[in-house]
Each structure stands twice: as C-alpha cells, then as structure tokens.
Symmetry: C2
C-alpha cells in the first residue's frame, strides 16, 4: 500500500507547497514512485514544478472532483522521473460551492485515488502527497478524507501556535466521521531560524504538547516534530521562480540538505513499517 | 476627516496583522488618535495587543456587523493611549454565512464607522486601520467598502507576486460597485531580507509594475512600494507572545525603527494633503 500524506495547515504561507513539492521531489530522487496532488486553486505546487498550463481539454483536479467520468490517470502528468502531478487551476475555486450539495462531497478525491491504486496494481505509487489550500473547507476535507497521515508544515512563531488547536479539531472531526485511519504524524518546521530563543521556545512547546498527547486517545498521540527543521534559506524561495525543485536549483544548499534528510527519514520509516 | 486604511492581502501569513498593530501603535505613539478594527476571526490583532477575552456581554466586531442595534462605540476598548480596538473573536467566523442573504451585506462596517465618526465629531479618530483576514470573502469586502485606501503587506518572494493580480481585481470590483473612492496606496514589504538578489528582483518587479500603472486608469495608478521595507527581525515575531507592540517590546530594534519610520511617513503624508 502507499504512504498517503496530506500537507495541511489552514494558516497561510507556512510552507505547505514548498514542503509538498520538495518532499515529493526528494522521495522521487530516492527512486520512489510519487504522486503529488495539488488541491489548491492557487495552483502553486503546479507553478513551483514549472508545469505548463494544462492545454485545451487536459482534465485537472477540478474535473477529477466534479466529473465521475474523469479518472486520476487522465489528470496526472509526468512532472519529473518518478513524480506524477495532478495539477490545479483557478477553476478549482468553483469546486467548493459546486460540490456543496453532494452527499459524497468530501469523498471525491478518496474514491479517485482508490480507483487509481487498484487499476495500477504493482506499478502503483508508493507515496501520495496532497498539497492543501490554507483553509478548513471542502477541498482540505477531501484531502483529509483521502489519506492516512497529516503532516503539519508550520513556522516556529507564537502566532503560528494559535492555529494548531483548530487544525487538530478538524482532524478529529474527519477521523470520527469519514476516515477512522486519519492521524497526525508530525510537524515539519519550515523557514526555521534556530538561532533565536523564541523559535527554540516554540519548538519546546510543540515537543511538550506531543509528549503529553502520547497517553491521550487523540489522533495526534503518536505525532512529533520532525527533525531536521528546514532552515530559512533564500534558495528555497528562489527555486519556484525558475520552476525548479530545491534539488534542481541548488542541490547542496541548506534547504536541499534539510528536505533530502526529511525525505530519507520519511522513506525509511515506511520501509520499516 | 480620517485617513482610512485596509491592510489587505488574501495570501496568509504575509504580515497584515503585524503591520496593522505596529502601524496603529506607531501612529498612536506620535500622538494621533487611532482606531484599529480586527476583521479576522482568528483575532490575532486583538491577541497581539494582549487584549483580554471580551467578557460576558461585551459586544465584538461580530455583533457590530450582525446587529444594527450595536454601535462601534460600544465595541471599542481602549487598548493603549490614543489607540482604540474593535476586537474580533471566533464567532466572527459565523458572520460570512449569516450575512450572505442581506442586501447591504458588504456595507455593514462602513455604516458603523460613518455613524461613529459623525457622533464623535471633533474627537473623532484621525486614522482608522482595518486588519483583514487572508481571504477575498465578505469580511474583507466589508473592510474594502469602508475605507478609501488599501495597503498591501507582502513579502518579496516569487510566490507572493502571484496573488497580487487577483487582489487588484477585487479592489477594482469594489471600486466599480460600492466604493468609488477606493484605491491602492501602497505595498508594505514585511519580513524583508534585502541581502538577497531574489528579494531585490521582486521589489524591482513591483516598482516597475507601479510605474507602468501611473498612466493607466486603475485603482493603483498612484500606488508605490513604501520605504522602508520592514526588516526581518525576530523581535517582531516575539512581541505578540507578550501581548506587546514592537515599540513596547524593543523600542530601538530594527523592526521598531522600520515601523516607526513608516508611521511617520503615513502621518506626514496625511498632514500634507
Ligand atoms: N525554508 C525556507 N526558506 C526561505 N523561504 C521559504 C522557506 N520555506 C518556504 N519559504 C517561502 O515562504 C513562502 C510561503 O511558502 P509556501 O507557499 O510553501 O506556503 P504555503 O503554506 O503553501 O502557502 P499557502 O497557504 O498560500 O498555500 C514562499 O514564498 C516560499 O518560497
Ligand atoms: N519583520 C518581521 N520579522 C520577523 N517576523 C515577522 C515580521 N513580520 C511578521 N513576522 C511574523 O510572520 C508571521 C506572519 O505575520 P502576520 O500574522 O502578521 O501575517 P498575517 O498576514 O496577518 O497572517 P494571516 O493571513 O494569518 O492573518 C507572524 O508569526 C509574525 O510574527
Ligand atoms: Mg501553498
Ligand atoms: Mg493576520
């Protein structure tokens, strides 16, 4: 089976897309088969990879969610070796209102992924990463209903901690209703400046929060803050302007070292399961 | 009349709240009367100022928008000398669905501010700053319909430029429909790292964009990138965890110098009008 992961945080600009793209690329670089699904109408994951605007009648994630006749295989484009991308365009913004009345409105993506994995058989993707938009709406709910694991990209700032409670509530809700497998596996620290006592304090708060959760019956009881934190590194912000992953842009810069280390840790965990 | 400014950017985590709070505090510190209106259900502006949770039946921005019997005067609390705050709480998240059917749904805040300024007469606020949520929904539309000027806090990153087009479209739409006075006055660069060629390129792109707009009939034809950019400075991120403005937290740090310089520029522009 595949390791299925939603990169989720309703707070904006915290590193979801940067992490989704660079972890997907890191895993692909280790020779693993990876699917990256862009669930954000901003389409930044697609932009980050330099994916061309879908032409003419190329279906996108919008079509996948709204049209039961469209399969995930038709939506996927080969973005890199080992890395297939389901691209998002601005029409995806129409999905939430249009799906609002449907009884299976949060399950569209899950059904599409399950059908795809069945038809792929042994050639199926090993890792499926979903880049969520900065909201707790229907698109994010489709992402959460389709995966087993949530990774929370965030920055070690005081105001960033404020949103985590609400995020956890949403994960609980989806877990209790449509997806009993769903759990939070960890936090990925993005744009991290380890030199300040402020960020060290925020990280310590997060570590303590997860330690205390170990004895509770909650979907984050086995969660932790992943190491390494991804250091703040302007190369990471520059790469998307060239349509490149951090590894293509500057393979040995701190951001690339950190994302590669995280990809290795994520692959290793899965191998040992 | 007052200088009325919405800090707006649908992209999350770009510095809207940090800028709203620290500009408001900077102006108050210059002896000007300032109102700060928190339009974000996250309530971060209120949190940043260390405002207590509103007690019992203290009305908040939610009540102001939904209940015509509630006036802005009843909602305001004196957060600092010269600085009155209209606080937001999570119930404000209910405002968008609840207002959806009302014919004047984008004008609620404007009406409340106009009534307040009329009843205050000569004691009225000189500067009204509105902290918008990271979206282009009904709350932001209330903010845009209530002011003359939009300031766009943003970071000098490639992905940040992608959202500006959509933001400008929304300003145009509000300008053509309910608020012909509305215009974009400027961009405030937040969390700025001037040492990288990437950020210099993004700033150059923005400067060029505004220069070209000068001859166009658009709501940003007199807009510019404000200087100074607010430098990345961990003190700026630490201050809210103590419920303090940057001036209270560390009056001479780079973040405080930059926000004070901006506040002085904003006050001076207004005096010279
Ligand atoms: N390690 C890093 N070093 C420098 N810049 C970074 C780093 N990580 C992310 N950034 C920059 O921070 C900004 C926000 O990142 P990103 O777009 O990945 O966040 P997001 O959570 O996906 O945002 P949204 O909520 O809009 O989807 C981008 O400009 C990105 O390039
Ligand atoms: N100059 C700066 N130096 C360091 N950190 C900063 C600076 N400006 C803002 N930050 C930090 O960046 C984060 C995002 O800022 P802020 O909350 O003001 O953004 P926002 O646009 O209001 O976010 P939202 O979209 O969630 O309302 C906060 O943790 C803040 O403390
Ligand atoms: Mg994103
Ligand atoms: Mg804010």
């Amino acid at each position: 089976p595949a390791r299925t992961i939603a990169l989720m945080n309703q707070k904006g600009g915290v590193g979801k897309t940067t992490t989704a793209v660079n972890l997907a690329a890191g895993l692909a670089g280790l020779g693993r088969r990876v699917l990256l699904i862009d669930l954000d109408p901003q389409g930044h994951a697609s932009l980050h990879l330099g994916a061309k605007e879908p032409e003419g009648d190329q279906p996108t994630v919008y079509d996948l969610l709204l049209d039961p006749g469209v399969s995930l295989a038709e939506v996927l484009v080969q973005a890199r070796p080992n890395l297939a991308l389901a691209a998002a365009t601005t029409d995806l913004a129409g999905a939430e209102p249009e799906l609002a009345g449907a009884p299976d409105k949060t399950l569209r993506l899950r059904r599409a992924i399950e059908a795809y994995q069945r038809e792929q058989g042994p050639r199926a993707a090993e890792f499926i990463l979903i880049d969520c938009p900065p909201s707790l709406g229907l698109l994010t709910l489709n992402g959460l209903s389709a995966v087993r694991e949530v990774f929370i990209p965030m920055q070690a700032h005081f105001l960033a901690l404020q949103g985590v409670g609400k995020l956890m509530q949403t994960v609980s809700l989806v877990g209790r209703t449509v997806n009993p497998h769903l759990h939070v596996t960890g936090v990925i620290l993005c744009n991290h400046d380890a030199s300040t006592s402020h960020s060290r304090e925020v990280v310590a708060d997060l570590d303590a929060f997860f330690t205390e959760a170990r004895t509770q019956n909650v979907p984050w009881s086995k969660a932790r803050v992943y190491r390494p934190a991804v250091r703040r590194n302007v190369k990471v912000a520059e790469a998307p302007s060239f349509g490149q992953t951090i590894f293509e842009y500057d393979k040995w810069c701190p951001g690339a070292l950190d994302y590669r280390a995280l990809a290795e840790a994520i692959a290793k965990e899965w191998d040992e399961v």
